[in-house]
């Protein structure tokens, strides 16, 4: 069974642990007036909440986070920073990370695919979401929201298989469209980018549709009564309001593409086109023993850092546009 590594909004590993606790901020404090993240005031509510018996309700969540998130991260980090010394002992050091230079091709590939794939999906997805919002049907909006969230989480081996039978070298659509003539092959970085669109575009629609739906009629009408054209509206109001959501969506897509493992593994295998998740897999499966494992963990830690940074910015941008649209 493959475990999808893609960070979805529902399981954001980048969220600080405190965010899960009830009363994470000072009660009744208006948004935007929160004390700084590291100040004492920001965590007062949390400590009070932790003293209440209601904290028992958090036990299942705490257990899951501990077993599936904290313990693995702790283990991974320990191994990644542990270095074998000549006398057989271990010390803490960055040596495993320095070894990563031999994986620079995997990193470059991962970044390339994620940047190109997420950019295409961000453009296509936001245009689609914009068009859907123009229809102004609440029913359509909710149907699209459900479908896109299903498709956004539809990755893994089945997806790769679907692409192989349709766009692979003997695939139906591959033959129908004569893709061989233009030199397209699914088993290349272009093929991966194409396959990723299948879940990246719905993710983008899911993230940006609320923004386009949330653009108020009063804003367009105020623009009109003040003498502005439709173009003026989009240039001065519409696009600036949508920008944080668009950028945030794009960052999320980048993270999602970056961390995808299963579908890429089925399609590409561990051969000609290394990606970070595939390299981790091959390092763990190889006979290199402890050395391979340490390097794999160092790669893993690198990925976690990138995912946390990406989700941090995503969160910031989302919050900003949410405030505008409330």
């Amino acid at each position: 069974m493959s475990v999808p590594v893609a960070p979805t909004p529902g399981s954001a590993p980048g969220a600080p642990p405190g965010a899960a606790a009830p009363g994470g901020g000072a009660p009744g404090a208006p948004p935007g007036a929160r004390p700084p993240l590291l100040s004492r005031g920001r965590w007062d509510g949390v400590t009070t909440a932790l003293r209440s018996p209601a904290v028992l309700a958090l036990a299942p969540l705490t257990l899951i986070i501990a077993v599936f998130f904290l313990v693995p991260i702790f283990g991974m980090t320990t191994i990644a920073f542990a270095v074998q010394t000549d006398d057989g002992g271990t010390r803490i050091g960055l040596d495993n990370f320095l070894d990563l230079s031999s994986h620079s091709r995997a990193m470059r590939n991962s970044v390339l695919i994620s940047v190109v794939g997420s950019l295409i999906a961000a453009v296509a997805g936001s245009i689609t979401a914009f068009c859907i919002a123009q229809i102004k049907s609440e029913r359509l909006d909710s149907v699209v929201a459900v479908f896109s969230s299903v498709l956004a989480n539809d990755g893994g081996a089945p997806l790769a298989f679907s692409f192989i039978v349709t766009l692979g070298n003997t695939g139906i659509i591959f033959g129908l469209l004569g893709l061989e003539a233009i030199g397209f092959t699914l088993y290349s970085w272009q093929g991966l980018v194409a396959m990723y669109q299948y879940f990246l575009i719905p993710t983008m629609i899911m993230v940006t549709l609320p923004t386009f739906v949330g653009l108020r009629k009063e804003w367009t009408e105020a623009n009109t009564s003040l003498g502005g054209s439709r173009l003026t509206f989009w240039r001065r109001v519409g696009i600036p309001i949508a920008t944080p959501a668009l950028l945030g969506g794009w960052i999320l897509l980048f993270g999602s593409a970056f961390a995808t493992y299963a579908s890429a593994a089925v399609l590409i295998g561990s051969g000609g086109f290394p990606l970070i998740p595939l390299s981790i897999d091959s390092l763990l499966g190889s006979g290199l023993g402890a050395g391979g494992q340490s390097t794999a963990m160092a790669l893993g830690v690198t990925m976690v850092v990138i995912a946390v940074v990406v989700l941090f910015f995503f969160n910031r941008l989302q919050r900003r546009s949410a405030r505008w649209l409330q």
């Binding site: 935007g32 108020r216 009063e218 804003w219 009408e221 105020a222 623009n223 009109t224 009564s225 003040l226 003498g227 502005g228 054209s229 003026t232 001065r236 109001v237 600036p240 309001i241 405030r323 505008w324 649209l325 409330q326």
Partner: protein, 360 residues
Amino acid sequence: MTESTTAVRQEAGNDVVFDGITKSFGSTQVLQSIDLHISSGELVTVLGPSGCGKTTALRILAGFEKPSSGRVLVNGQDITSVPANRRGIGMVFQAYSLFPNLSVQENVEYGLRVRRVDRGKRAARAKELLEMCGLAEFASRYPHQLSGGQQQRVALARALAIQPGVLLLDEPLSALDAIVRSQIREEIRRLQQQLGITTMFVTHDQEEALSIADRVAVLKDGVIEQLDEPRTIYQKPSTEFVARFVGSVTEVGATRDYRGGALPVQHPEAGLDTLFVRPEDITLVPDEDGSCTVISQIYTGERTIVRATNPANDLEVTSSVSAVEASDLVPGTRVTPQVMSTPALRVSANKQNPAEQVTV
């Protein structure tokens, strides 16, 4: 720079004419032949229950809706086919119409920016308006940092910045709490009179409509029921609907030969004329053999509203009394209600023509 000169030329003081305006959405007729003349510098409130077509009328003047038939004239010019963004009409919406990504100052400057007024003039005009609306210190804030009342003040300043020929207000106070509402209501009136700007103000709140207007148009089912000064609307409503919708009334029966003056209240039965009497024109006289019983007192400060009923025939009487009088009218007191002076409206018993009025 032609656009900026247009903006300057659109001086306040344009009269507005709705000439036989009708509007249907599909098979629903929302406005049935509206004729309305708003004089230059006048403030007319359009008052009516929800769904009466008042907002549609305003949106037709703004240019957001096209009338099914009829013409709209501003300053004698037919603007029916002029697009909304070329009408130079200022508009304040119910709420949340400020551009959230722009500061207060940028919001106020928006219309001037569209008209390519240069930066210095824009800033000076915005400053002037913000001061006029008491918002000078909020210029660099963003809409989400303002209270609802402050937001509506900014919306007003933004609408006035383009020196519009006509100002439209679409229930601008309905989202605010009572104190702020009356403050801003007074400010709107002060600015409107100071600038002498022709204004149409749509509301469903009768107190608001009466207190701010030069004239009130009461709208029902797409028809103007009455267009008069606030005092006349209240004291001499021309239809039963206006009498019931504006202020409260007690419906009293009277024989055909009643010619005004004191009258014991009786139930409006078939064959009797119906009098529509304001609370201040009814007294409740404590009387052990009285037909009615006081059921409630509502203290409103200066006056107390006392309600009494006659359980035998469902008669309900509303009277407005002073605090001293109210002390004798606690719930449970038996009373005899009396009409003291001329009723606001009298509708003849002749039901073939319910609108026929008998001069009292």
